[in-house]
Amino acid sequence: MEFELTEDQALLRETTLKFLESTCPITTVRELADNEPRGFDPAWWKQAAELGWTSMLVTEDDGGGSVSGHGLVDLALVAEERGRLVAPGPFAPVNVVAEALSRRGTTGQRRRWLPGLLNGETVAAWCLGAPAAGLDHPGTPVVARRSEGNGLVLDGASQPVEAAAQSELLLVTALGSEGGLVQALVPSDTPGVRLHPARCLDLVRRFAQVTFEGVAVDPEWILDGPGTVASGVEQQLQTTVVLECAELAGALDRVLEMTVAYAFDRYSFGRPLASYQALKHRFADMKMWVEACHATASAAAHAVDADAADAAELTSVAKAYIGERGPVIVQDCVQLHGGIGVTWDHDIHLYLRRVVVNRTQHGTPSDHRERVFRAMDAEVSP
């Protein structure tokens, strides 16, 4: 949690927490995992949208807005609470697409898609189908050829994309056949688009690979001109990473909290676990790491929100740091729980799943370290 919140932000945080606790406690998350192919309840998603979950990165003109005027900082508060309850729902995908539309979409594009995204009726996903932004991208990219009417034709296969199979709209980042990147808005029912469900370690998140076979895109649905596409993709990446990191920080905070509580409650050899110095020192390290995760997640959110010069570096700093520390912290907490920590019925594995997924999506720690190096090198070289 951030220590210096405005009153409105504190209220937002509290409202979010109450909403999650009342509508989606972990028992509900487990039920969704078992019984809900989508991973979330669409009606619940509309409720969340009413609380502003989908509108904070959208301008007021487009019907969006946020309590502090710092949309991404506010949205990161929501993400953190989501992490604390390993909440479901296409949170980052919808927000990233909504922000891209609001920032760089044409009037027609915004009118067509934003209202549904904002009220939670429509789900969208960002389909990063090409090597971009310094992230490792194994496999064949999605390639966009210019068609006769100045539209595009897409061919290729994406990596697994979160919420793709639950989305009406795909924001596709493709490799232009003449180089550079291209972004297009592709309804998922467009002929030639096919979805191939993937499996995910996180029990309530759904991914699918998207393949494109001669998918025609009308010129009006091309997002970004050549001048803005690279920075647009970078923007989308930064926003995604900020939300992933905030969610991670929340999840790690909660895991440490429950493990500290366990250490106080649990007696061994007549003493609480919390009285054993070897464990106390590990808890001290974990507390330090978790506070550092909060600190760097928050710094990244503020930097991206402010379009700061070092926003790219700070998002990668946060993702590399939290991505690396996250599994270490959760696994040590599992260890401190003893055998119960590796049973299905204990909640800690839900957090471990979320942490592993967030660690590896949109760049692993080593991808982001390489991005940090390049940012540093750029600074040092001249």
Binding site: P160, C200, L201, Q209, R266, F269, G270, P327, G339, V357
Partner: protein
Amino acid sequence: MSAREVVVPAESDGTMEDVESFRLRARSWLADAMPLLPEGMNNHQLSRQDEMGERARYLQRILSGGGFAGLCFPREYGGQGLSRAHQRAFNQESLPYQMPTLFNVPTFSILAATLIEFGTEEQKHRHLPAILRGDELWVQFLSEPSGGSDLAGLVTRATRDGDTFVINGSKIWSSGAFRSDYAMCLARTNSQVPKHRGLTMFIMKIHQPGVEVRQIAMVNGTAEFCQEFFDDVIVPDGDVVGEVDDGWTVASRLLFHERDAVGGGSPYISGVAVAGSGGGAQRSDLVNLAARMGKLGDVRVRQLLAEDRINSRVQNQLVRRISAGIRAGALPPPAGALPRLFAATSTERHLDIALDVAGGSMAVWMDEDSEDANWGEAFLNRQGGSLGGGSSEMARNIISERVLGMPREPAADRDIPFDQVRHN
């Protein structure tokens, strides 16, 4: 060391059948009597498919019929009274065949071994021949939900009622209790004395009124471990193992047999679960993973793969060194905790390296890539190895206190009546 301990001779002592002639006899009998392993499978994989142990019981019955069951068990209890050398020869000859390795741990090597040392003649005659015939699988009921590392702090009660005991409480982490027949169950018979002095070990029939066995679903999808609930379970006092209130002596010895079995030192292990395991095992699973990810050319990944290989090599070297040191008397027996801890930490590191090498595909994978699913589930269960068989924390206590001789942790329950101690 208990006076009742059976010393199994390492080599044939001249009164037994010569090892080489035994080997030839075994070879020919195995070829006639035992089914071959299916191509590309080992006994470990087979027994994972044998959920209720029916195949193992069937195979053990064949061995028993042929006079090859319990080679190192005493003849009076249905064994063959042979030496470790005979067992070793038999194990070598048995490599191509299906073997009932499910019986090895814990039935033969831990529970039968303990029963031989502490059981009454009646108990031994009742159970050991049945075990060797394949009629009884055994498990241990030691750990409790409230217990953790503090085994002697258990709270399951056994209350005397005439010539029986009535047991209430719960046990956990028994492996395969649902398919097993008998357990050795440690329970508290006296709460007015310090914790180690009020425990008694019982033989408990598992499938009887008052015993409920629940399989525990684990994060990696297995359900081998169980929890048991005891509701007024009646145990006749003829089923006490060792002395009443002296169960800790029995349990300590049982735990010794457990370490011995895990370390490969038990004479009661028959057949080989995974041929070629230990020693120069290749652990090429990570290399395969990296190859599949197209990362064998990545210098960073190569470093990680080499690190894993180094850990695996050094682990085997350490096992050999510590065994030699204990044998030579240069190290105390608790030094066995050193390779135990090394194995736990290098398994953790193995999975961390996998997470790094696999990248996103450990978290999200296409249906067809079932190997990725395995890696993800293995990572979820990363701490399994640091928790089973005593936690890494206990290993560090043992090493510092019993190898380096450092002061023991202050325990709030030492020499204090159990009912005055705070527990879970």
